[in-house]
């Protein structure tokens, strides 16, 4: 079904980590590290150009889009390619999500019934999107492994949803490089701690003035031959954006 376009932002922002309240040093360190990872992606504002590749048993498709964000609550996306979807744009402003459909010249507000299914044929669900801003509240994090693995020095975090958090997952595991705090892989487990999907971060390169992974690939655990890949072509952080950009009227502009 239908799904907002700023998903790739949402995924990156999964790395925006939980505030940790405990007093211990260890906890402070977790917080510092995760904030450092977070800083990789988050600025006051951003502009990005991304290409999405989707491969499933039934089709393969490519889509190019550009997006703007300001703070955590305002995001705007617009499809650039292919032609048949060009101009389709999605706005998330606080708790509201709207999509503009150029073919019918209509703007639709996302409803709770639209949360299921894949967006644009990708392997992502809407759940993460709506939860984006709540990640900090939803999880508690700890370092579950630190040291050498597969020839790389890494730190592995385990994120467990808080008791009341509206999260379907049983836990998340995030592995980052000890040097540069660049994410490597993030794994989602269901409640029985069975792997549900994996996100791999690869192709580390200069992007927006820093070394970051430019490719992000989502693989569902039950269909290992399928994937959705996001490739960052351009990213600039802390760009000047007017609040007016994130309004219903700017949705329709091309």
């Amino acid at each position: 079904m239908f799904k907002p376009l700023f998903f790739c932002f949402s995924l990156f922002s999964l790395l925006v980590f939980p505030s940790v309240q405990a007093v211990e040093l260890e906890v402070d360190r977790v917080k510092t590290l995760l904030n450092a990872v977070d800083d990789l992606w988050r600025g006051e504002s951003s502009y990005a150009v991304t290409t999405m590749y989707v491969k499933t048993a039934n089709y393969a498709r490519t889509m190019k889009m550009e997006g703007w964000s300001k703070g955590k609550e305002k995001t705007l996306f617009r499809v650039v390619k292919p032609l048949r979807e060009k101009g389709t744009s999605t706005l998330k402003s606080d708790n509201h999500v709207y999509t503009y459909l150029p073919k019918t010249d209509r703007t639709i507000k996302l409803t709770s019934g639209m949360m299921m299914g894949s967006w644009m044929g990708s392997h992502l669900t809407n759940d993460d999107l709506v939860k984006e801003a709540r990640l900090e509240e939803d999880y508690t994090a700890e370092i579950s492994f630190e040291g050498e693995r597969d020839g790389q020095r890494i730190i592995e975090f385990t994120l467990v949803p808080k008791l009341d958090a509206a999260v379907v997952w049983g836990k998340l595991e995030l592995t980052i490089l000890a040097d540069g705090h660049i994410p490597v892989v993030e794994s989602y487990y269901d409640e029985d701690m069975v792997l549900a999907r994996t996100i791999r971060f690869t192709d580390i390169q200069q992007l927006g003035g820093r070394l970051r992974p430019a490719v992000l690939r989502v693989v569902p655990a039950d269909k290992p031959d399928e994937y959705t890949e996001f490739v960052y072509e351009k990213l600039s952080l802390n760009v000047k954006l007017k609040d007016g950009l994130f309004s219903l009227s700017s949705l329709k502009k091309r």
């Binding site: 709770s112 019934g113 949360m115 379907v168």
Partner: protein
């Protein structure tokens, strides 16, 4: 009085004929009691079961809620209205509920469905069908419980078992998307596939928090009655009251039009069948009375010659019909009482014929066939029976009163 005695004696001059006709009347009584009683029992069961599945016999809701339900339409000051409604003598229970559409999600799947948020303190097996249908785990315990009770098929689709997490996503009072978590505390099986595969119960207060409702705001108040037949009158009287002016008061026919339609059709089919049988019985009465008039033309001629007026003769035959009906009724009562008592207490178990998940108009039913007569139905059957006998007797009586005395003497 003498005419009465004469009529009674005339009737018993042909014992066999009278007994056969009386038996057919008695048979009619038995049938009528069975059909009407089965209807009275069956419809009440269905209506009560339907009421227990969500909206009660009477529903007090925000304006326009029933036509197009949404979480924006909510009923305020629910506690106060509940207190008012509890005062009414017809009312057996008054419960406040929130009902809405939600997407239920596990890590594996997500499924769209309906939720009903309840205050467990107000809900009992007598006003909540799902409590009776619980097959695993337990019911919600408090108004701010962390649990969710759902249909077995919904749990199966979501690949969930007891104790597992469910995220439900819905639209709040401002139209924004909100979601919250609950853990499966119980599973129910009603046998109605739409319900088992798409309904979940949630604790009221938790849902109020999620939706942004005040603590006395709900979707509707479900009012259950001691006797479902009072719903129409009570709804009309509530609608008149100032306290309920700016809201909607509905009865079960409006909240469950499918069920109401099904019952109406079944009732009319039942009535058509009864009417046919009534017509047959009256044909029997006419036949008997007409025969007895025809064979007594000479006798009536003599009676008229002796000074009996046509009006008396008419009355005589009508009285014969009346006493025939009384005889039939007495035989009818004698044969019907044991049958009725048996069907009232034990009933026929039709589980093998219908299976144990029989539903009617979207409402689950038990499959023991019992009969239960309302007082009005008893009165209806009696009135029906006597009017039948008297109408059927009218033509023969009229024929008798029209016999000219002389011709009567000449005949045969």
């Amino acid at each position: 009085m003498k005419l009465n005695l004469l009529a009674w004696r005339n009737l018993w001059r042909h014992k066999r004929r009278t007994l056969i006709t009386a038996s057919s009347i008695a048979f009619g009584v038995l049938l009528s009691v069975t059909f009407t009683g089965a209807g009275d029992y069956f419809y009440t069961r269905m209506i009560d079961a339907g009421a227990k599945m969500g909206m009660g016999h009477i529903t007090v809701a925000a304006r326009d809620y029933n036509r197009a339900p949404s979480s924006q339409k909510r009923l305020q000051s629910a506690n106060q209205h509940q207190a008012t409604l509890r005062e009414l003598p017809e009312v057996s229970s008054v419960i406040a509920r929130i009902q809405g559409q939600a997407m239920f999600a596990s890590a594996r799947k997500s499924v769209g469905g309906t939720f009903i948020a309840i205050d467990p303190a107000q809900e009992t097996a007598s006003n909540n069908l799902f409590i009776q249908c619980l097959v695993e785990g337990k019911m919600l315990e408090t108004v701010s419980d962390k649990g969710i009770v759902m249909g077995v098929d919904l749990a199966r689709k979501l690949q969930l078992s007891l104790g597992k997490k469910v995220v439900y996503t819905t639209t709040d009072v401002n139209g924004d998307i909100v979601s919250a978590i609950a853990r499966v505390s119980g599973l129910f099986r009603t046998g109605v596939s739409e319900v088992d595969g798409g309904l979940a119960l949630l604790p009221l207060q938790s849902v109020q928090t999620v939706l942004g409702y005040e603590s006395d705001e709900v979707s509707f108040i479900a009012v259950n009655l001691h006797d479902q037949r009072a719903s129409h009158v009570l709804r009309d009287s509530l609608q008149q009251q100032a306290a309920f002016q700016d809201m909607e008061v509905l009865n079960w026919q409006q909240t469950q039009p499918d069920l109401a339609g099904m019952i109406a059709v079944d009732k009319s089919a039942n009535k058509i069948s009864q009417l046919l049988i009534a017509l047959l019985i009256s044909a029997g009465i006419i036949n008997t009375m007409l025969m007895s008039v025809l064979e007594r033309i000479r006798e009536f001629g003599v009676m008229m010659a002796l000074g009996m007026s046509p009006r008396h003769l008419f009355g005589l035959v009508m009285l014969e019909s009346f006493w025939l009906a009384v005889t039939g009724l007495i035989i009818g009562i004698i044969i019907t009482i044991p049958w009725y008592l048996y069907m009232f207490e034990t009933g026929l178990d039709l589980t093998s014929a219908y299976g144990d998940d029989f539903s009617f108009g979207g409402v689950l039913l038990d499959t023991v066939f019992k009969i239960r007569l309302f007082k009005e139905s008893v009165v209806g059957i009696l009135i029906g029976l006597f009017s039948l006998a008297l109408i059927a007797g009218a033509y023969p009586a009229w024929r008798a009163s029209r016999i000219p005395p002389v011709e009567g003497l000449k005949a045969l």
